[in-house]
């Protein structure tokens, strides 16, 4: 018994409307069941407890001017932001000669500009290394002086934010390509190269950054003719080697996630090893590990604070230096908060950039 039936397609309809409006939103997000309601109320109570004293300390009763007596009077009830007004330049620029501090300011802006440009896709070409060479050259000339009519400032007087920015930017800029090579080396078919890369990664990862910095500081000069080597350069080498080992492992994770078929297709097309890495493997592997790379970058940026142990005054070192003043020592909390805010702005910017980059690079990798 077969009755012929015509196929009638059902026209597409929009999905049922969701409830809109503030009340509906509150109910579905904050008071969705007894447990959620209880949590919401508990959090509100906590805020009611914490916010008022925090606001009264940080804003209402705070002293904003560089007035030491007023700060002492308000001590305990109000914050002394005057310490920032008084010591801000020392914190930001360290022991750099006061009259010349326009130079580190300009140098910082130069580095920030280069960093921002590196984040933009239109600069991801042969211009990027040139851009960095110019930016770093400019940074050095401005900071070091002793040419173009600028007075000479030895590197041991460099400090504060420019030092932090430069150490992290330069060490990461060199560490990144190095890490790519080490990650590829760990996957190499040549046993000598593979062993060398494994040794390097495991050795560096096995010791704390402090030890690496000490070694770089005190051991590296032994290999130099005459035994003299700029302390800044030593620290840079140490930090670069350290960051590269961690980055290499992150990148290796991405390399391992590339399906074998991608490599086979590239080989079948006759691409050479380096063409294949550059055009097929790395672009896919790196975009997979963007969050982990940025994570490592953020860690490395904050790790620069460890250079204080070899007597370089980066941002955290400069805070200690600034608060060494007996008059202002009491207000170390405000000084630390100021430095923390600078770190936070930089790290938060990196984190947001990472989110944007992930979305931006994933074009084509998702079905749409």
């Amino acid at each position: 018994m077969s009755v012929e039936q015509a196929f009638t397609p059902i026209a597409s309809r929009p999905p049922p409307q969701r409830q809109l409006g503030a009340l509906a939103w509150l109910r579905s997000h904050l008071f969705d069941g007894p447990l959620n309601s209880a949590l919401t109320l508990a959090l509100l109570a906590l805020l009611a407890l914490v916010l008022p004293p925090l606001l009264s300390w940080g804003l209402v009763n705070a002293v904003y001017g560089a007035d030491n007596d007023a700060c002492r009077a308000a001590y305990g009830s109000g914050a002394c932001w005057g310490v920032v007004a008084e010591k801000g330049r020392l914190i930001v620029f360290g022991r750099y000669p006061y009259a010349e501090q326009w130079r580190p300011l300009l140098a910082c802006l130069l580095l920030v500009a280069a960093l921002v440009a590196s984040g933009m896709r239109r600069f991801w070409n042969a211009a990027l290394p040139v851009l960095w060479a110019v930016a770093l050259g400019g940074f050095y000339v401005l900071m070091r002086g002793d040419m173009l009519g600028l007075s000479s400032v030895e590197t041991d007087r460099w400090g504060g934010l420019p030092l932090t920015l430069m150490l992290s930017a330069v060490s990461l800029a060199i560490a990144f390509p190095l890490a790519v090579l080490v990650a590829l080396g760990r996957q190499s078919e040549l046993p000598a190269i593979r062993t060398l890369c494994v040794l390097y990664v495991e050795l560096i990862r096995g010791v704390p950054l402090i030890s690496v910095l000490f070694m770089a500081s005190f051991v590296l000069p032994l290999f130099m003719p005459g035994g003299r080597m700029d302390v800044l350069l030593r620290v840079l080498i140490g930090m670069t080697l350290f960051a590269a080992a961690y980055l290499a492992e992150v990148i290796r994770g991405g390399l391992q996630a590339i399906p074998k078929g991608q490599v086979e297709a590239a080989q079948a097309l006759g691409l050479t090893y380096w063409q294949m890495q550059r055009k097929i493997v790395l672009p896919q592997a790196l975009r997979m590990v963007v969050p982990a790379i940025v994570n490592t970058f953020i860690g490395a940026f904050k790790d620069t604070s460890l250079v204080t142990i070899v007597s370089l005054y980066d941002l955290t070192g400069a805070v200690q230096l600034a608060l060494g003043d007996a008059d202002w020592r009491k207000f170390f909390l405000e000084g630390q908060l100021f430095a923390a805010a600078i770190y936070f702005v930089a790290c938060f910017a990196m984190s947001r950039y990472s989110r944007w980059l992930e979305g931006h690079l994933n074009t084509g990798l998702r079905r749409s």
């Binding site: 399906p259 078929g261 991608q262 086979e264 297709a265 590239a266 080989q267 079948a268 097309l269 006759g270 691409l271 050479t272 063409q275 055009k279 097929i280 672009p283 896919q284 975009r287 074009t363 084509g364 990798l365 998702r366 079905r367 749409s368």
Partner: protein, 246 residues
């Protein structure tokens, strides 16, 4: 018979202790269309993957286009330029558009200018009837469309030999024919083809020769008519009865 474009001389290969190719002797004439079939694990994919050195043979000699395949990287690259390959899983590059997938090898291996590479790519895309998808990314296409792009990509280096490694096995049944149509059309154009497939209809209509493999050996090879109507070994008969049963 014209001179062989591919020649296996007592080729052997092992995966660890597993003897996957055993004493393979095979000559392929220029322009010949060969279908290779056999049960899974019989070594048929390994056999064609040796031709462009995705797999390395450990014993015997293998010549492609008159060049012997050895460890010499330059020779391997020269051979790969003459050999196109289509995979079961398509293996398109997901981070590149369809057009970029096609222009990659002509620009980097063939040293073509971008404009020429794109012209050539568009011609191949028209050939597989998918030119309108040039700007899309592979994962936005259906399986059948992706496989046709993969065929076009392999053709962009104007290879003398095309290898197909189970090109329709990963496709939905509805899409198998659009890929087979493209392959049949290609078969009519004088290119040497080696195709690992279980599409016996395709074998009957285009193959000059069918090769049956089992346990790393070539069990039997013959014209499709002879192969399907007069299989010479019990093993072949058994295999055919299983795949042609329904």
């Amino acid at each position: 018979m014209t001179e062989s474009i591919i020649e296996f001389k007592r080729v052997n290969k092992w995966y660890g202790d597993f003897h996957v190719l055993r004493d393979i002797d095979l000559q392929v004439a220029s322009g010949e269309r060969i279908v290779i079939c056999g049960p899974s694990g019989s070594g048929k994919s390994t056999l064609i993957r040796c031709i462009n050195r995705l797999e390395e043979h450990q014993d015997g000699q293998l010549f492609v286009g008159g060049i012997e395949l050895k460890d010499d990287v330059k020779a391997i690259e020269a051979i790969r330029r003459q050999v196109g390959m289509v995979f079961q899983q398509f293996n398109l590059f997901p981070h590149l558009t369809v057009l970029e997938n096609l222009t990659l090898a002509p620009m980097w291996v063939g040293r073509l200018a971008k404009k020429d590479a794109e012209e050539r790519a568009m011609r191949q895309l028209e050939r597989v009837r998918i030119a309108e998808q040039a700007g899309k990314y592979p994962l936005q296409l259906s399986g059948g469309q992706q496989q046709r792009v993969a065929i076009a990509r392999a053709l962009c280096l104007t290879p003398k030999i095309m290898l197909f490694d189970e090109p329709t096995s990963a496709l939905d049944p509805e899409m198998i024919n659009e890929v087979l149509d493209v392959m049949i059309e290609l078969a009519g154009q004088g290119i040497t083809m080696l195709c690992v497939t279980h599409e016996m209809g395709f074998a009957k209509s285009v193959a000059d020769r069918v090769i049956f493999m089992d346990q790393g050996q070539i069990v039997e090879q013959n014209t499709p008519a002879e192969f399907f109507n007069n299989p010479r070994t019990d093993r072949t008969r058994d295999f055919l009865s299983k795949i042609l049963a329904h």
